[in-house]
Amino acid sequence: MRFTLNGREVDVDVSPLARLLDVLREECGLTGTKEGCGEGECGACTVLVNGEVVCSCLVPVAQVEGTEVTTIEGLGDEHPLQRAFMDEIGAQCGICTPGMILTAITLGSNPTLAQIREGLAGNLCRCTGYEAIYRAIQRAS
């Protein structure tokens, strides 16, 4: 199975029905993508496939063949959203943070609060009450 992962071609030898989440974590060694529920409710496993938000726990790896997959590791360590999450204490326990940041990337520049709320509706956070996450996204944009 071939796809582009964080800008690099990868070729993995796995069952086509393997969850993208497991392939990323176990075959590719990228553990920044987290499993929270395994049923597409919490968004901790969010990655971008061709720039769109998907829950990698719901996606068989066969579906990403030939696509571009971006995980949190693909942002490097200096992305403005990462900085902003740090500065605004947008991460508490941090387990939802990679998924939050990847979703936030797709919100475009200067999203309104209503757009941020709607955009993040599929990413659960149990620590923050979301306010600090809004502050981080607004600071970065």
């Binding site: 919490c42 999450f85 500065d87 204490i89 941090g94 387990i95 600090a132």
Partner: protein, 703 residues
Amino acid sequence: MRNVVGQSVPRKDGIDKATGHARYADDLRFPGMLFGRTVRSTIPSGRLAGVRLGFDPTGFTVVDYRDIPGQNFIALIVDDQPCLVEHDIRHVAEPVLLLAHENRDALLGALVTLDEEPSDPIFDPELSPTAFKTILIEKGDLAAGFAGADHIVEGTYRTGHQEHVYIEPQGVIAVPEGDRMTVYGSIQCPFYAHKALATVLGDAVSSVRVIQTETGGGFGGKEEYPSGIAAHAALLALKARRPVKLVYDRVEDMVATTKRHPAIVRHRTGLTSEGRLVAMDIEIVLDGGAYTTLSPVVLSRGAIHAAGPYRCDNVRIAARAMFTNTPPNGAFRGFGAPQTQFGVEVHMERVAEQLGLDPVALRERNLLRPGDTTATGQLVGEDCSALEVLRTAVRRSGFRRKRRAYAGTTRGIGLAMYWHGSGFTGSGELKLASRATIELTATGVRVLTSSTEIGQGTRTMHAQIVADALGIPYEQVEIAAADTGVVPDSGPTVASRTCMVVGRILQRAAEEIRAKLGESTPAEYFLRHGPLRVTKQYEQPEWIRWDEINYRGDAYAAYAWGCDVVEVELDPDTWEVRPLRVTVVNEIGKAIHPALARGQTEGGTAQGLGYALLERVAMRNGAMANAQLTNYIIPTTMDTPKLDVVLLEHPYAGGPFGAKGLGELSIDGPAPAVVNAIRNLQLDVRSIPALPETIREAACASP
């Protein structure tokens, strides 16, 4: 040197979390590692007659109670909870058999049949014949109080289970190293797990070590429960002689692990015609589930907070935690106090109504003031802020104006007062005798405690306290991992004690080091004189007196105070109530890190809104029937309204830089404030979660 206490400095762990580098339990792999699985009972009550393996055991490690080299219980308060079932089954999802295999598909595919002989279960805590703990708090003369009352108001209030839903499910990895056992895991209290492991493993190992991995939320759910998971993984690892990873999926996590205790709270209250409280008679029943676990201490905190932040000369609080055939209920942020404060605050709203008093005026008349005494007879200090938080919240939220404006509309507004004692109850801190260490390094200092970082900001806040107490830059303070092989036992990371209690011990240790350093920096001193370590132990403030038998005296060293105002909107077609805005005023002594403190307060408030309106655990035949995030609903961004948080500071002299505990405080207020806002819509709801069904029932019952 610029002070960092009171500044929102960068989190010590912020960048690792924002970049995905932070390593949680499931992110770790060890050579030769197996995956573990727990086979669980399927009946709420009965006997285990046999276990049949329907698979070829080659390549599997199989463990049952006969493989336990030490004692078969999870060490906590009472030794009644087996590590693995022998014969008696007391609840659904009780661990019976453990399996490990290197291939996860083979592991999950292995068929095990349990021969279970059911007996009649007990699900109603009020009908249960067995109490884990009873508590009686008595103050003044209750009969005389009622005799002098012009009004008597009665009411019964109920709260349901609540699931923690830390986004990272439970997980540990046990690694055998020679005759030693090391467990890595998502663990709030490494020394609890350490004690449980030592008990279960007995002489089979020479030593046990527990190392906390980055932890994706806890909220109490990773306080006591991981001790059992650690023991299970270690038993498998011991037998396999290989590392074993035991990580729950969400369904197992929700079915098997602890929840907030459901509660029934009954109030009978006497008042004078002016609305002064003269008698409070309170009965509390907690559903403890099938084993003792932490129920006695949850009950204790619940009982002590049950009369709310009010002064009343004649009080009786009779509380009991009861056995039922459901998975044990356990620690959850607030620890009994949210349940009992729901009762008293929803009741106070009914009291105001019956007496024809304004809800703010009734509370103003009765709130504790410095010099008053609580139900246990504790004299409240100068830092008592009950009146101030009420007045601030009322003013800031426009409570009176909106209450008038919303009359007759689909909008309602309600408020709730609350308080929360910091640290262990009574003489608990004295018994814990927590220790904390600071040592010099070549670049500054290292802080060694068993306090865990579970998102709340332990590392950052401790580093700030130490930096300012030593007069060195924040960046020069390093925080050691919570590793029982390295750090002293600073007590568990619970009870809003990590800042106020452990932070204070660190402050004292830092002050001692500072005196030794003279004019040198820590690094200079280290290079010149070599290592220097200072360990300090908790010292109880000399004024604290506590009578454990009669529940009299100083229950907590300090209290934090809160008032929430919640505005809601009712959809008259669906009976759904949505929160529109929450004003939270919390008085916390001192915000060591204002952004972290605000984050804790916002998060606790959101969790409280879920408790109030969304989070229903549907129990069917003793098991959670909706054990998925698809149908156990926690607040999303769309369910969480604007949270307007105000933090006030009235320092507590015994806390570091005046800090009190704040982590739990904010969970106490939202539920009663929401239900009081619903009452403002003329709907008589007395239980949570206030789902549309609950609200519709109330509407049909209302005159």
